[in-house]
């Protein structure tokens, strides 16, 4: 900075944060085990929680520690069912705070429940989904505990000295960085839905459940829920979990041509999406954006039409089983990570593709081919 500091200048630090590794303070040494927050709203578990249990299982096995699910919710069958499901997705044990005050998500009681659990049972790693609920809660919990929190991780690992290495996009998604929380516990990270694969669900008996009191009464909580309006158009939120996704980018040239993407998606019973510039230009609503500030997808088939494939797009679609890229520029970066490439003008190809798919998939043709 150019202005004259009013306080004496600090000694220059060599090597930035990477040089500041120290011995873990003694009071953090007992911190052990991997925890995953199992997020539910009105009895519906967000699938990112199971994805995180799958990833947490791998970390716990590497560290040779237990994997625990943290379930916060109202008392009753709904919450008990969530606990049971957590075991089916690989948890060794569960920490449960069941209280009527936890029916709807509110920051105050959820933060208290989570920080009390952490302070009492001392996990070394705590993972949450990067959802509206998970991000709201994680920020409060990490600040209360004065520990590090890595947002929107795309990769988690344990390095040689058993520290959590959380990798996430940086600089607007153009590069990746690996972040550590070396001298504080727990090491916290949020992970976006669909970044991690869904683990296999295996029926298991309910294991050890450790219950903990909330220790609050309604009068302690300032924020009240006056109403809840369920999302009417659930289709808009299905993009992340769709089996087939068709998306368009700037190569389409005009907002009218984006209709070609929608038509192919409709024919395939697929969800449609777009790259960031189309949202910024106002051609497509932001809930359809795929990429770092939009959604992560893992469909069986992803068709990208006229998308050049910047790194922030790449990291959010790489989990797709089959990536088909259509672009006029044979040097477009999307061909570096697509499985099938087609150097073609999407504006011409999309209508032909829609028509060809319609023919191939029509029941009449299929019956004829089968007979």
């Amino acid at each position: 900075m150019a202005d004259a500091p009013k306080t004496p200048p600090a000694k220059p630090q060599a090597g930035g944060r990477a040089a500041s590794k120290k011995e873990l303070p003694d009071h953090f040494k007992p911190y052990k085990h991997v925890w995953v927050f199992v997020e539910q709203e009105r009895g519906q578990v967000h699938p990112v929680s199971w994805e995180l249990l799958g990833e947490g299982r791998k970390l716990a096995d590497k560290l040779d520690v237990d994997l625990a699910a943290v379930v916060l919710g109202p008392e009753g069958a709904e919450t008990q069912h969530v606990v049971a499901e957590a075991f089916n997705y690989g948890a060794d044990l569960a920490y449960l705070v069941a209280d009527p005050l936890l029916r709807d998500y509110r920051n105050e009681p959820y933060t208290k429940a989570m920080t009390d659990l952490v302070n009492t049972y001392q996990p070394e790693i705590l993972l949450l989904g990067a959802t509206t609920l998970g991000r709201d809660l994680a920020g409060s919990v990490a600040t209360t505990l004065k520990t590090g929190l890595t947002a929107d991780s795309t990769e988690l690992d344990v390095d040689d000295d058993k520290s959590l290495a959380a990798t996430r996009p940086t600089f607007g998604g153009s590069l990746l960085c690996t972040i550590y929380t070396l001298n504080y516990r727990p090491q916290m990270a949020t992970v976006r839905p669909r970044v991690m694969p869904m683990p296999e669900r295996v029926e298991r008996p309910v294991g050890k459940v450790i219950t903990h009191p909330l220790g609050l009464v309604e009068g302690d909580i300032v924020t009240k829920v006056l109403d809840f309006l369920p999302a009417r158009d659930s289709a808009t939120s299905n993009l992340a979990y769709a089996d087939v996704v068709v998306a368009g980018g700037m190569g389409l040239g005009s907002p009218e041509n984006f209709q070609l993407v929608k038509q192919l998606a409709t024919t395939l019973g697929a969800e449609y999406g777009c790259s960031r510039p189309l949202v910024q230009k106002g051609w497509v609503p932001s809930d359809r954006q795929i990429g770092q500030t939009g959604k992560t997808i893992r469909p069986k088939l992803y068709i990208a039409a006229g998308i050049s494939g910047a790194i922030q797009h790449r990291v959010e679609v790489e989990g797709s089983d089959l990536i088909v890229a259509i672009n006029t520029d044979k040097n477009a970066p999307i061909f570096d990570f697509a499985h099938v490439g087609l150097v073609a003008d999407a504006i011409k190809l999309l209508p032909a593709l829609t028509e060809a798919f319609r023919r191939r998939l029509s029941p009449h043709n299929r019956d004829k081919l089968a007979s």
């Binding site: 500091p5 929380t181 009240k224």
Partner: protein, 281 residues
């Protein structure tokens, strides 16, 4: 009513390029903008002030050049701008950032009147963490309302606020008690253009410039790199996949059929899945 809005000057991430050979960020010539989400917070604050009276103070932490962003919001008609700038803040992660901002907001409260609402944007487009709002709220012991799509009402006498909060499952209507921290969603309002008088006044207006010491920050160990529990160990470009895309080569001008053949060859099960999905046809 006193409203404090936190904004951030960020590089226009759409303009960032990575050097093709060295894989390093090319920062030269990248223009800076006000974090787009923060503009919705600024507008919401101005609307509330216009309805209920009072003042809007905008706070930013950053290099001296961040003053440009403050002059811009002054031209929209905010009442006061505070620039928190000190080399001790360099390298701050979100925990260290919230310590500095929360301390500065406390100082703003002592100097210009305690805030009833602290606004932030949903997140920044450079860090994308969405952690700074919750962090400030926790440090100042404010209720936090994030992902707010609408402010239904503010009752300054009863000190009550009613908001709509968007989540994946739907919309919560929440009532809370002032003072609160509100993190605004995008697309919630349209930012006003300032009047010519406001633009002229903004150019002449004084921007309050505070160092860490001016803002009342006592513990430098909680600032910058030293105060940051997270450590960035390495920055890298994702490695190229060894296998490049298999290109469809055909004489056909519009090789739709060839592409479908290739898709079903690689994913045979997809044909039945798609037929089921598309069974409306």
């Amino acid at each position: 009513m006193h409203i404090v809005v936190c904004i951030k000057q960020v590089p226009d991430s759409a303009q960032i390029r990575v050097h093709p050979v060295t894989n390093t960020i090319m920062r030269q010539g990248v223009p800076t903008i006000i974090n787009p989400y923060d503009l919705f917070a600024v507008e919401e604050a101005l609307r509330l002030r216009d309805t209920h009276g009072g003042e809007v103070t905008v706070l930013t932490m950053g290099p001296p050049s961040a003053e440009d962003s403050l002059r811009r919001v002054l031209s929209f008609g905010v009442d006061r701008a505070v620039l928190l700038t000190d080399r001790f803040f360099a390298g701050s992660d979100t925990l260290a950032t919230t310590y500095a901002l929360a301390t500065a907001i406390k100082k703003i409260g002592e100097t210009f009147g305690a805030p009833d609402i602290v606004f932030t944007g949903k997140q920044t487009i450079d860090g994308d963490t969405a952690q700074v709002g919750p962090g400030i709220a926790k440090r100042l012991d404010l209720r936090q309302l994030t992902y707010i799509s609408k402010i239904d009402s503010v009752d300054t006498d009863a000190k009550e606020i009613v908001v709509e909060r968007r989540s994946e499952a739907g919309v919560q209507v929440l009532k809370s008690q002032l003072p609160v921290l509100v993190a605004m969603l995008e697309g919630t309002n349209d930012l006003r253009r300032g009047t010519l008088e406001e633009a002229i006044a903004a150019a002449r207006a004084e921007v309050v410039r505070w160092s860490a010491a001016d803002a009342g920050i006592e513990d430098m160990q909680k600032c910058g790199l030293r105060g940051s529990p997270t450590i960035v160990k390495k920055v890298f470009a994702p490695s190229a996949r060894s296998e490049k895309a298999a290109f469809i080569e055909t004489e056909d001008q519009v090789p739709a059929e060839a592409l479908i053949d290739e898709i079903f060859k690689r994913q045979p099960a997809l044909e039945d899945d798609l037929a089921a999905l598309a069974s409306g046809y």
